[in-house]
Symmetry: C2
Subunit: 586 residues, 2 copies
């Protein structure tokens, strides 16, 4: 037996006990006649003590141990004179009588402390060392706990976890599929699922009633900082439900996770906001409602004062940054540069300070009288000491810029604490989005999303007006989940495909299995999928999902630790009847 206890469990109640421990040499220090070693494992640290007077041989041996050596020791639990009450084992130490080196270590390429001196690339290459750091390990422990609690909650509600296949056909999610050549069927390919969307709908047709799965999904997209080619979803579907049932069930899941994992209780129901409201009040469909600073529209009264920028604008909107009247010229210039970044693309930023005496000083005093500016202030509820920011232009773009400015100001004013969580359901999304380039509609969620009954009158005549039974769960401005009630009527599904400009041939080729299935008694159904990596990252207070994934890929889709992807042997290509047809780089 390698150990009688872990390094996290011994305390003052065990004084005098003979124990055997194993683990890694975390730190060691020699103090005159004594050598102290912090022995580490997943469960904690335990201090070992070696005494030159008692056993000089053993003590010398201990002095030879390097960082990250794996050792086994036997000794007696002893009360420490110099207690460390910050850790559970801090009141005791082990007076070691036997020592065995289980495995040596060369010097790690970076320090394995809370703040490591290793760069990203190095830590990725030696991920197995990076994972030894408590801060990284804790993320995986959190992930485990969240997965177990998710399963517990859903199982208690009669959801069945059902594994759907990984080798499937193309899914209609719009992104690129990863494909897998079939050796047994040369020239043919499987695709890896972008989500089990159609399969979970078939499970509803199959009468499974309530399905979930914590499941890997795959998208072959160009990777941005926080995308991974494989990611994990909490994928759910229910039969005989309408929107209200889903919102209740999954608000329950979110409450359960916050309560059991973080000890956070939401006293009130999770609020709901329509897509339209979200866009007009926050300029985006995933508002961060940890703080107010809502957008007000100025279009109706800010025009007609000879200020060309506003007069020619489609839309004028503003926010009020409380207590920012004192912002310096430099600070305002910074914010102007911020909204003018190409990613945001605003032309400029107008401001108006509400002075302590109630007078208002704006950057457009030439055009606007004190009375005009008083209307601005009262519209926003701006008070003495506040700063008003106004932007104008194309409505969509300006709302987006106001959203970015609002978030930036929220951050600057410390209104976006990671310790506060404000979940929100965004509902009543449009069913379709018009794409000006291809002159056609695209499904805002996916083509199986049900339109709202009350909008069905426009479904063929004016499809852009139709709202969907779709919903997103947004927490602190991050979309953590989304879903919809699905179409379960093959006639409506056909019309939907038509609205998306898909011909009968294409529908048949891509979706005949689900259209067929709907002919055999499909129950009303709907579902949701949560981005599990994202949710865990949020619980961990992290911005990047990479930190909550054991072995993530880098931005080139590579795992530099195991060194993949890589070349294939010629025999393998031959067996698959494939040839690489590499284009010259342009």
């Amino acid at each position: 037996m390698y150990r009688t206890h872990t390094n996290g469990e011994l305390n003052i109640t065990k004084i005098g006990t003979k124990v055997t421990l194993s683990g890694w040499v975390h730190r060691s220090r020699d103090l005159g006649g004594m050598t102290f070693i912090d022995l580490r494992d997943r469960y904690g640290l335990t201090q070992l003590v070696f005494n030159m007077d008692t056993d000089s041989g053993l003590c010398k041996q201990a002095r030879e141990l390097g960082r990250e050596f794996v050792i086994q020791v036997t000794g007696i639990v002893t009360e420490r004179s110099n207690k460390n009450l910050k850790i559970p084992t801090g009141e005791i130490e082990i007076a070691v009588t036997e020592l065995k080196v289980l495995s040596k270590s060369i010097t790690p390429p970076f320090t394995l402390e809370e703040k490591s001196d290793g760069g990203d690339d190095l830590r990725m290459k030696f991920r197995y060392l990076d994972l030894r750091r408590e801060v990284v390990r804790k993320n995986l422990e959190l992930r485990h706990r969240m997965a177990q609690e998710t399963r517990k909650y859903l199982s208690s509600l009669d959801f069945l976890e059902i594994e759907t296949p990984v080798l499937v056909n193309s899914t209609p999610e719009g992104a690129r599929d990863f494909v897998v050549p079939s050796r047994m069927n040369p020239g043919e390919f499987y695709a890896l699922p972008q989500s089990p969307q159609t399969l979970k709908q078939l499970l509803m047709v199959a009468g499974m009633d309530r399905y979930f799965q914590i499941v890997k999904c795959f998208r072959d997209e160009d990777l941005r900082a926080d995308r991974q080619p494989e990611f994990t979803q909490i994928d759910c579907e229910m039969a005989f439900v309408d929107r209200e049932d889903i919102l209740e069930t999954f608000a329950g899941l979110i409450r359960h996770l916050f309560k059991t994992v973080l000890g956070v209780d939401f006293e009130e129901n999770i609020p709901r906001m329509t897509f339209k409201d979200a866009m007009e009040r926050y300029g985006c469909d995933k508002p961060d409602i940890r703080f107010g600073m809502e957008i007000s529209e100025f279009t109706s009264f800010a025009k007609g004062k000879d200020f060309k920028v506003f007069d020619s604008a489609d839309y004028i909107g503003a926010i009020c940054a409380q207590g920012c009247a004192e912002y310096t010229r430099k600070q305002v210039d910074e914010l102007t540069a911020f909204v003018q970044k190409p990613q945001i693309g605003a032309k400029g930023l107008i401001y108006a300070r509400v002075n302590d005496d109630g007078t208002i000083k704006s950057s457009v005093d030439k055009f606007y009288s004190p009375e005009d500016l008083a209307v601005w202030a009262s519209t926003l509820g701006a008070k003495a000491g506040d700063m008003i920011f106004v932007m104008a232009g194309d409505k969509k773009q300006t709302l987006n810029a106001l959203n970015e400015l609002r978030l930036e100001m929220g951050s600057r004013l410390g209104l976006r604490s990671k310790a506060i969580f404000r979940p929100l359901w965004v509902i009543d999304f449009p069913l379709l989005e018009w794409d000006e380039d291809s002159k056609r509609f695209y499904a805002m969620h996916h083509p199986f999303t049900s339109p709202m009954e009350e909008d069905m009158e426009y479904f063929t005549s004016d499809p852009g007006k139709v709202r969907a039974k779709a919903y997103d769960m947004v927490i602190n401005g991050v979309e953590v989940g989304g879903g919809s009630i699905r179409i379960h009527d093959s006639e409506i599904q056909k019309l939907m495909f038509k609205n998306l400009g898909m011909g009968e041939e294409e529908v048949k080729r891509k979706f005949s299995f689900i259209m067929d299935a709907f002919r055999y008694g499909a129950p009303p159904h709907g579902g949701i999928a949560f981005g599990f990596d994202r949710l865990v990252a949020m619980f961990a207070g992290l911005d990047s999902i990479r930190d909550v994934i054991a072995f993530p890929k880098n931005n080139s889709g590579k795992d530099v630790m195991i060194d993949t992807p890589g070349p294939l042997a010629q025999e393998q290509l031959d067996e698959l009847q494939l040839r690489i047809d590499k284009k010259e780089k342009q």
Copy 2:
């Protein structure tokens, strides 16, 4: 709201309650003035009653409903006159007052009863209908329960479920990999994991201490009846353990599953048998110990009686089939034909009947005296009324034939009940297997398996003699899991690769990441993987794993329901910089 209750929950305590139910029309019958419908969902059946006298319009509507229509009804829970005590809802029925058709159905291509009239191919194509059958659905419910209980047990022991990547590099399991071309890295490929073997070992190096995962694995093999290209493993690894710790921990898992899922208690510890014993006593490394009928070796005393077949044999062995002395000539001929099948390949079958009076009549009386035959009987413990079967030849082949005969006789004698479970640990496997064709050793488990310390003296001099710290969990003759203590010393690992005939270059290319990892303090570790599909099938009393998989593939690796694999669009191939290079069929 589509329902107030499911179809499985209403009973006599709810008489008089107004309820709303939804589900599928399972059966319907008209009896004079009444129409009865069995409404079905995942939870059960509820009888609906429509009365021509009370509401002829509604009753007529009900008579129009076809099988598998999805309907919603509202009505009053009423006591049945004609009770069915076999189902929980059998004492009540619903006197329907409102009926709504949610979805129509055309006639299903096969009946959705316990015994369906649909052939395999048809049921696979319409798997979403096949899954509506209670017998199929129950398998997925069982699978769900087993997965949850597995997680519960392992979590309670501090195992962390950690997701390992699906896009990896080739694994050294020996089977063919499925590969995934990388668009971002043209000409390069990922592989889908045959198992997370090396990654879980890296998690041990990373200090995760106890890992598990219920995980999809992939093998591109030619499919036999009971293989699937993707299958599910309960994959586990522990650090600071030796064999004993693993055997105890996972005997515990198996006991927990049998107890919580099937209510089966194993009073005794799970027995252990060495590979050598298993081979000699049962002729195979996965003995079915639900019954005895062990093999005895006759080689030493059955030679030298001028019976050429035996005299020229490397090995002679026998089993005793209790109470089979009465077997007819025809039955014995059948058994002879059975062992002569090419898959078994025995040359013939010698028998000896122990008559009621104690005399023995054999098929080789010419060569063997009554005294000789008495030795046969006493060696096997054969008694009056028993039948002795003897086979001879090459040792390995003959043991295999005796194993097959033993299993066949066990089945014929009803000794292999699916309601009885006899788990067994098979231990002390050889580390290496010699392959005569390629004149080299292969790893019996995989190249990371640790040799036994006491055999290390042969590790370089006579590697074929070395036993491994490997173990298999065998239940009722089926290998449901297997694993080993791993090598954690890079020097021993190097020797192991050398024994397998791998050059330094090859080792570096394939395994440098794990060899590197071992240089930074690798703890002693080991693990096990259970075939989850197989385990569920065993719990369900099924022979095929296909029945416990929601959407299995057929023997050509195809999913005929969603129609995959299929051709790829030219643009996709172009993006991947691949060309199909299809060989003419020979």
